[in-house]
Subunit: 397 residues, 2 copies
């Protein structure tokens, strides 16, 4: 197993493109120690000056939800945000682990209470990401507890082995040269993004079962792949795996409704199923779900921007995640299986400088999957003509 962990850690520091003398923050949860230690070793071997591992403990969050004065649940000590901002100002690297390492911590806790305490999410992170100050990467961290919800039909060992195998596949760690494989895939995605950008659509339409939404685009919007460059010109792969192209829409021009095509797992493991969102003039005026709509609404109630769109992302039918048919109950994986939207903060760098101020701002950013082979995606030209973009998972542009 040491080799498998080391290979994953190497991919993480490659994705973040850790540089000599950088300070590297590692955001993990209790249960992800093995990967945190392997990433620390890999980052130090690349010359990192310091690796600052922070372990979040969801059981401490539970103790808070159960015992603290509910009116204090939104409080976060100033030094949490200051650490993130100081680190960003030092132009350090950030590595974050996705995946679940515990399924029971928030069992039976009122999801609304749980949502008021938004840690480990920090509102400063949206600002740091938007400012492109840090080179960063999110990678999934395998854990037996996570495997048990992804493959409930398998016993513990088999489920964990299968999670490793599927993650290694979608991470292209089963390729002879994973870095090269990612260069090739991100080049394909960047090419699709450039072609779509060149169409200068005024809006995008999504139509399928339970979905009929028109999203307005800003005039200078750019479609991007997850192949980022910092303000210092440092290339990095912010998400591994990644199969999406994305942009930030006009936060005041969404009309219609969407239905989620995959369950949405919130950070604490709360799973929102059967989500339906209705938009009017860009605002999500109705958020309903078969399960846990409350928990989602609570997480978006951070600020006014929480209910507007910050991201539209398209995923074709040729990535490695969608074809598995596996629901990972984790946004990093599931969002790359299907086209998706995000409520909350957008990416100012996805539009021309003159429109950067119009991209949505919020302390929240929650992706939810609305794409499937049954969902058609059209571009709407400046003249109002509908131009097919995705049909049955295939690009039409």
């Amino acid at each position: 197993m040491t080799e498998a962990w080391d290979a994953l850690a190497e991919l993480a520091v490659h994705g973040a493109n850790v540089q000599p003398d950088q300070i590297v923050t590692v955001s993990a949860v209790i249960g992800q120690e093995t990967l945190a230690r392997a990433v620390a070793a890999a980052a130090y071997a690349r010359g990192a000056r310091f690796v600052d591992v922070f372990y979040f403990d969801p059981w401490v969050k539970r103790a808070r939800a159960e015992n603290a004065d509910p009116d204090t649940l939104e409080f976060v000590p100033a030094w949490y945000g200051e650490r993130a901002l100081q680190h960003a100002r030092s132009h350090g690297a950030r590595i974050t682990f996705a995946g679940h390492a515990d399924l029971n911590a928030m069992d039976g806790v009122d999801p609304v209470l749980a949502g008021r305490d938004r840690l480990p999410y920090l509102r400063e992170i949206s600002e740091i990401t938007a400012g492109r100050l840090t080179n960063w990467c999110i990678v999934p961290c395998p854990h037996p507890a996570w495997a048990s919800i992804v493959y409930p039909q398998l016993n513990g060992d088999d489920a964990y082995a299968r999670l490793w195998r599927e993650l290694e596949h979608v991470l292209r760690l089963d390729e002879p040269d994973p870095r090269r494989a990612w260069e090739e895939r991100t080049a394909q995605l960047s090419d699709a993004a450039d072609r779509l950008t060149a169409r200068r659509f005024d809006a995008l339409e999504l139509r399928g079962p339970g979905t009929n939404l028109r999203v307005g685009m800003l005039p200078t919007h750019r479609w991007l792949s997850a192949d980022f460059t910092t303000v210092d010109g440092l290339a990095h792969l912010p998400n591994l795996p990644t199969e999406e192209i994305f942009t930030s829409p006009d936060p005041f021009r969404a009309e219609g409704y969407v239905s989620s095509t995959r369950p949405l797992a919130l950070f604490d493991g709360t799973i929102v199923r059967g989500l339906r969102v209705r938009f009017e003039k860009g605002v999500a005026v109705a958020i309903d779900a078969e399960e846990n709509a409350d928990a989602l609404r609570s997480r978006l109630a951070v600020d006014d921007g929480g209910l507007r769109l910050g991201e539209v992302a398209l995923v074709d039918g040729h990535g490695r995640i969608g074809e598995l048919g596996t629901v990972f109950f984790d946004t990093l994986l599931d969002e790359n299986a299907a086209s998706h939207l995000a409520l909350g903060s957008g990416f100012p760098f996805a539009v021309g400088e003159e429109h950067g101020g119009r991209v949505n701002r919020s302390g929240a950013h929650i992706d939810f999957m609305v794409g499937s082979p049954e969902v058609d995606v059209d571009g709407v030209s400046a003249e109002g003509a509908l131009v097919p973009v995705l049909r049955g998972g295939d690009w039409q542009i």
Copy 2:
């Protein structure tokens, strides 16, 4: 077990005297999660505004020692100290866990390299402690790995059960009312401290096998028990268990030599055995040991104050730790079994205000045990007369 953890957590928040609306920091290492969560619950139940648990991972420290540029090992990001100082300025509460939760993390790592990286120790903590800004408490956290070195003759389960039993005994958790038991014991210790203070000794002499040391006292020195009060007048018990009375000596007037009477376990588990220290004009001019003198010297080489005395503590033969005869390989426990000295930072509040500036200052503070029933302790009066203070573990004053 839940009840035992909860009782220990209750004692910790009682010791720190956690107040409504305080921010409580909890310093733990990976492996001490159960107590951290119980303490969080107990602190929130007392009305804490936020409980900030930081888990230190000694295996990340190992990854650093093995892979990082050795010249960077002393670097600590500014936000580590700033967090501690901001928290102190908010007059928050601090709870720290003693005990070992891992024995192998630093195995085979050059102790000098390991010592250059002083984390999780922060130099700011000495300043915060000296300024009495926070109400705090250190308690031991039982762990099977710790039990295995304390009772190597027992199997794992028996050793762990024995560690719990002995810790509950020395923590007086086996009393019907542990808080009351601590009130009584700290009252006894405070009384002994007051009697010793009243003697206004000019110096103290320790004499026994391998020990012959005279330590000069500052004119306004006060002997204290570990029953502290913050600048806000908040009483707290900084160490549980505690059996000592202590003061800070004149850092320029130690002459002679001492031999340790118990092994000294450094934070990372490095054990210094057979320690001998020779003092000239207050400076530890020679530090030798049968094992790991290097590691100790490296930890004291922080600054000039690291080699001068910051504390002299006397422990009578009637506490609960010494009578067990157990070596816990942990300073919190072992220092309360026998009289001890500490190299490094002292306590300005243990002398009159006019002499506070003369107490030793350092980023280090390392206690080592020099007392035993064979070690006689005398006071030296202003006229130079020797007055017996401790004989065979009994107070003579």
